[in-house]
């Protein structure tokens, strides 16, 4: 085999290695791309307030019971809702209050993640304000009251009369 072929081969090897490294990076680049994609298309937007048509009609004929649930995972916090449940008409806006308290003697930050029952409630629940849109940082011993403002879309299937909104606070690594 001539020297020149060996040289071309090495050049090719380098190119392909660089390409592999780029693809390795691309794997990581998929993470922000995925997040951006979800944000732009509005899929999975746990962190943005919803916008609702101003003249949405209140459906006075129905009353939906909303159970409010609060949990913490891996945090030295107490977390509760001040009402255990509320009743509203679909289309009517309401504000409910939650309270967190840091029981430890250090500053701790956490992020609340909502979950709903039944699962499709997510489609009909429109939140204007929520403590879950941002992380919460609590000083040692600090107590904080936080509102959630929302409506339930009157489009919600008629057989639904009771739903549950649950929040779980997860610990955030320091520095995040």
């Amino acid at each position: 085999m001539t020297q020149s072929v060996t040289k071309i081969n090495v050049a090719m090897l380098k190119k392909l290695l660089v390409f592999s490294m780029i693809m390795f990076g691309f794997g990581y680049a998929l993470v922000p791309m995925y997040e951006k994609f979800c944000e732009v298309t509005g899929i999975n937007n746990l962190l943005q307030p919803d916008v609702v048509d101003k003249n949405i009609k209140v459906d006075m004929t129905r009353l939906i019971t909303i159970g409010l649930d609060a949990n913490v995972r891996g945090l030295p916090w107490q977390f509760k809702s001040l009402q255990s449940n509320v009743k509203i008409h679909p289309g009517e806006s309401i504000e409910v209050m939650y309270e967190i308290k840091n029981d430890s003697d250090r500053e701790v930050s956490g992020q609340a993640i909502p979950s709903y029952s039944p699962r499709f409630l997510e489609k009909y629940l429109k939140k204007f304000e929520c403590f879950c849109f941002t992380k919460q940082v609590l000083k040692p011993g600090e107590v904080r009251r936080m509102p959630v403002k929302f409506i339930i879309d009157p489009q919600i299937p008629v057989d639904v009369s009771a739903v549950t909104i649950s929040y779980t606070f997860f610990a955030l690594e320091p520095g995040k």
Binding site: M1, V5, T6, I8, N9, V10, M12, L13, L16, L17, F19, S20, M21, I22, M23, F24, G25, F26, G27, Y28, L30, V31, Y34, T41, I43, N44, R73, G74, Q111, I113, F170, A171, L172, E173, K176
Partner: protein, 524 residues
């Protein structure tokens, strides 16, 4: 550069005994080692499959505890995909690509040795993970979090093994691309290359495209597990669905990595035994390339039930169905090649025809899975298991058998026993269908995959399937016997044992000399 071995440099005698194999840089030696390694892994993976089918022989839990059953299914998948099928094709490429393009060896002979010797390390890691505390990984071969974010040492060993296998595949792919692009004999233009070489060129490009993404995925999983990142960990703001996207971005091209070389093998064998040139050579090349490109934009058909907007489902549904078009072109071309050919049915041809028949069934069930409303029904059932065994066992594996029978005379210089070969084919064909055809019905009736027990109405079909599987497993020991018998005491093979063979390897003596094509042949 250390990786560049001047191929003229190893004319003098090579070390003998075990060191010959450890240090060899000869493409034929390395090809042989790849093939034996993959056969060994095939037996290990087959053992796990026998365990699974034995447990599923009857309803109830008999021999495998659920956790161990889960490890069996997980490691069966990983070992068969990464340990058996992929290395077997790389082994075929090592033997055949240089001989078919008239090159003396692979482009980077030393690197070739490394990419092989990484494999036994990874294989040993996977197998030994059964014996560590907590046992082997049990979250499925697709290792979705959160299961794979939990799990013990076994999962870390799996992750490490995948890193190693990925490195090996990438090096192998780089080697193959460079060999094919730079070392063809004078006169062999790209469009004169044998189909097997073409399919491997395209496969190797797919490998360098997606294997690094898999490496990135498992790295993210590893840092999630041990270094506090939260790519996939919902509790820290990550997203487990993201894992599925990144995994299948690798995973779907991966399934084509396992089938394109099989297409290549069949495209060599069918013309040989039909004594006609391949019908529609250039359409074959374009079909292969379009399958490869399309395979990169269909990944989410594995995730129709993971939560996706309807437009997304529609896009991935149509894109997936589109792949059936170039695949159909190929099937058409193989059939047209046989049409009015003067066919004979030696074992390689039997396996190739079996391939065409059964692969088409697998392709059809794939198109059925691609239809969103149906897939929502059959996702994660035995229907999917049936689908991918039709494309992987009677697809990829049958093609590997065909290739071994086809080229064994050239490699060993001896003929295999034709009668036994045919028996191997027919037994495989029958038992395979007994084992897997009924799984379509099980899946349609709703039997979930990866569960060690099932409700009573599934009992009969499961028993049939298990019997087929045991038969299929035993039949493969016959294959081992045939190969050993051929190497040891087969009849001497002529240089060109198949009269229809038209590629360059048949111009060499049998067995192929240790160094071939040192002076490149000239292609008219």
């Amino acid at each position: 550069m250390a990786v560049v071995q001047d191929v003229h440099g190893h004319h003098d005698h090579h070390p003998s005994g075990i060191m010959r194999w450890v240090t060899t840089t000869n493409h034929k030696d390395i090809g042989t080692m790849y093939l034996w390694f993959s056969f060994a892994m095939f037996l290990v993976g087959g053992f796990l499959a026998m365990g699974i089918r034995a447990e599923l022989f009857m309803p109830g839990i008999q021999i495998l505890e659920p956790e161990l059953f889960n490890s069996f299914t997980t490691l069966h998948g990983l070992i068969m995909v990464f340990g058996a099928i992929m290395p077997a094709f790389v082994g075929l490429a090592n033997w055949q690509v240089p001989m078919m393009i008239g090159a003396p060896d692979m482009a980077f002979a030393r690197m070739n040795n490394w990419s092989f010797w990484l494999l036994p390390v990874a294989g040993a890691l996977l197998i030994s993970s059964f014996f560590v505390p907590g046992g082997a990984a049990a979250g499925g071969w697709t290792f979705y979090p959160p299961l794979s974010a939990q799990g013990g040492l076994g999962v870390d060993m799996m992750i490490f093994a995948i890193h190693i296998l990925g490195a090996s595949s990438i090096m192998g792919a780089i080697n193959i691309i460079t060999t094919i692009l730079n070392m063809r004999a004078p006169g062999m233009t790209l469009m004169k290359m044998p189909m097997f070489v073409w399919t491997w060129l395209i496969t190797a490009y797919l490998l360098v495209l997606v294997m690094p993404v898999l490496a990135g995925t498992v790295t993210m999983l590893l840092t999630d597990r041990h270094f506090g990142t939260s790519f996939f960990n919902a509790a820290g703001g990550g997203d487990p669905v993201l894992f599925q996207h990144v995994f299948w971005f690798f995973g779907h091209p991966e399934v084509y990595i396992m089938i394109l070389p099989a297409f290549g093998v069949v495209s060599e064998i069918i013309p040989t035994f039909s004594r006609k040139p391949l019908f529609g050579y250039s359409s074959m090349v374009y079909a292969t390339a379009s399958i490869a490109i399309l395979s990169c934009v269909v990944w989410a058909h594995h995730m129709f039930t993971a939560g996706m907007p309807a437009v997304g489902q529609l896009f991935f549904m149509y894109a997936t169905m589109l792949i059936a078009v170039p695949t159909g072109v190929k099937v058409f071309n193989w059939t047209a090649t046989m049409w009015r050919g003067s066919m004979t049915f030696e074992t390689p041809m039997l396996f190739s025809i079996g391939f065409v028949f059964l692969f088409v069934i697998g392709g059809f069930s794939g198109v059925v899975c691609a239809i969103v409303p149906i897939d929502i029904q059959v996702q994660d059932t035995y229907y999917v298991i049936a689908h991918f065994h039709y494309v992987l066992v009677s697809g990829a594996l049958f093609a590997i058998f065909a290739a071994v029978y086809y080229w064994l005379p050239k490699w060993a210089g001896r003929m295999y026993d034709e009668k036994l070969g045919k028996m191997h084919f027919w037994l495989s064909m029958i038992f395979f269908n007994v084992a897997f055809f009924v799984q379509h019905f099980l899946g349609l009736a709703g039997m979930p995959r990866r569960i060690p027990d099932y409700s009573l109405q599934f009992a009969d079909f499961n028993m049939i399937s298990s019997i087929g599987a045991f038969g299929f497993g035993l039949t493969q020991l016959l294959f081992l016997y045939i190969v050993i018998k051929c190497i040891r005491s087969g009849e001497k093979a002529t240089d060109k044992p198949w009269e229809g063979g038209s590629t360059l390897e048949w111009t060499l003596p049998s067995p192929a000399p240790y160094h071939s094509f040192e002076t490149p042949p000239v292609i008219k």
